[in-house]
Symmetry: C2
Subunit: 202 residues, 2 copies
C-alpha cells in the first residue's frame, strides 16, 4: 500500500510518532552522560548517534528542538564535554527509564540504577555498566531550520573499551560487546552477524 504525507498528517499524534519513528530502520542505542556547571549529572537515551568522521574522529546526534528545556544540550554547551555509552542487554531497561521526565536537579543515574564513572581527562560522567564508552568534546551544533532540531557534533577525546573487542583490522565487535539496537521508539533488539563483506570494487 502507499501511505502519503497527507495520510500521515491525518494520523492520531501518538500513532504518527510511532509510525514515522519506525521509518529510519535500526538505530544505535546510546546513553549520553553530561554534568552541569553546578555538578548535577544527567543521563539520557538517544537513538540518533551516527558516524561523522574518522580523522579527526567524531560522532554526531540529533537533539529535538530546544524550545523546551533540554538538560543534555544545556550541559554540553555549559561544560563543553559529554560521553556516549553503548547500551547493552544488561542495562537496556535502565537506559529506557532515563527517557522519563525527571527534574533538572534529579540525576537519572540515581533514578535509573546506573553508576557514574569518571576518567582523569573528561569533565562528564561515563556509565560504568557500559562496555564501550566514548568521551567527546563539543565542537558544533547545526540547527536544522526545517524543524528546529539540532545536529550536535563532538570530537572523540578518548574511548574506554576492552582490548579483546578490537579486531586485528581495527573493527570493534559491538555484537560481542552486547550492544543492542532500537527500532521505532521502544523496541529493543539483539543482533546476530550474517557476515562481513570485503571492500567493493566495480
Amino acid at each position: 500500500m502507499i501511505i502519503t504525507k497527507e495520510n500521515i498528517l491525518e494520523f492520531e499524534k501518538l500513532y504518527r510518532t510511532t509510525f514515522v519513528n519506525s521509518m529510519s530502520g535500526f538505530k544505535s542505542a546510546s546513553l549520553i552522560g553530561t554534568i552541569s556547571d553546578k555538578r548535577n549529572t544527567n543521563l539520557a537515551i538517544f537513538n540518533s548517534v551516527i558516524h561523522v568522521g574518522a580523522n579527526p574522529p567524531s560522532l554526531g546526534f540529533l537533539m529535538r528542538p530546544v524550545s523546551v528545556d533540554r538538560h543534555t544540550y544545556k550541559n554540553i554547551k555549559e561544560v563543553g564535554f559529554y560521553t556516549i555509552n553503548h547500551i547493552n542487554k544488561d542495562i537496556f531497561k535502565n537506559a529506557h527509564q532515563t527517557s522519563a521526565r525527571y527534574d533538572e536537579n534529579v540525576s537519572e543515574f540515581d533514578e535509573c540504577g546506573l553508576t557514574p564513572e569518571y576518567s582523569q581527562k573528561l569533565k562528564a560522567p561515563y556509565v560504568k555498566e557500559s562496555k564501550i564508552k566514548i568521551g567527546l568534546k563539543f565542537v558544533e551544533g547545526q540547527e536544522i531550520k526545517y524543524n528546529g532540531t539540532i545536529f550536535v557534533v563532538g570530537e572523540i577525546v578518548e574511548i574506554i573499551i576492552l582490548n579483546e573487542l578490537i579486531g586485528i583490522d581495527g573493527y570493534v565487535d559491538v555484537e560481542k560487546a552486547g550492544s543492542i539496537t532500537i527500532s521505532g521508539l521502544d523496541s529493543y533488539h539483539e543482533t546476530k552477524r550474517i557476515t562481513r563483506l570485503s571492500y567493493a570494487k566495480p
Copy 2:
C-alpha cells in the same frame, strides 16, 4: 584500556577508518535512489539515515564532503527528490556492491542486480526488492563546518509498504520486514527482538 584521540590519529589510515566507524554502534541500512536531469539513475548504500521529525514527517542522513563528486547529492539537488529503501537479508550483498566506484553514467541498479521502480508521485527510482520504500523531497542540506560533511534533510512524500507490517499502534515491524543493521563499515547483522518497553514515567 583507554584509547585517546592522539592514539587514534597515529593509527594507520584504514585501521583508523574501520575503528572509528565502529564507534556509533548499530546503524540503519538503506539504499538511496536518485536520478539525474539527464535520466541517469544512481543507487548508493548509506548507514547514517536517522529520524528527524514526525510532523512533518522527515528523515536525515550524512553525506561525506562533496570535495569529490557525489552523484547522490548532485542528483538530489538537481531533481529535488530521492528514495530511501530498507536493505533486507535478500539484497544486502547487492546493496554492499553499490559502494564500489562506478562512473556517473553507469547505473548501480544494472551493475548490482537491483530493479528500479517508479511511483506516479516521485521523480526518483525506488528499489523494487526492498520491503519498505520511502519517497522524499529534499528540504535542507546543512554543512558541518568541522569536517565538510552535509546533513541532508528530506520530507517524506510517500511510503510504500505492506499493510501487514504496520501494527495497531503505528509501529512498523522492521524486523518482520527483514531489514538488517550494519556495524562498522562492512558487518551485516540480522536482529532478534528482545522486547518492547512501555512509555517511561518517573
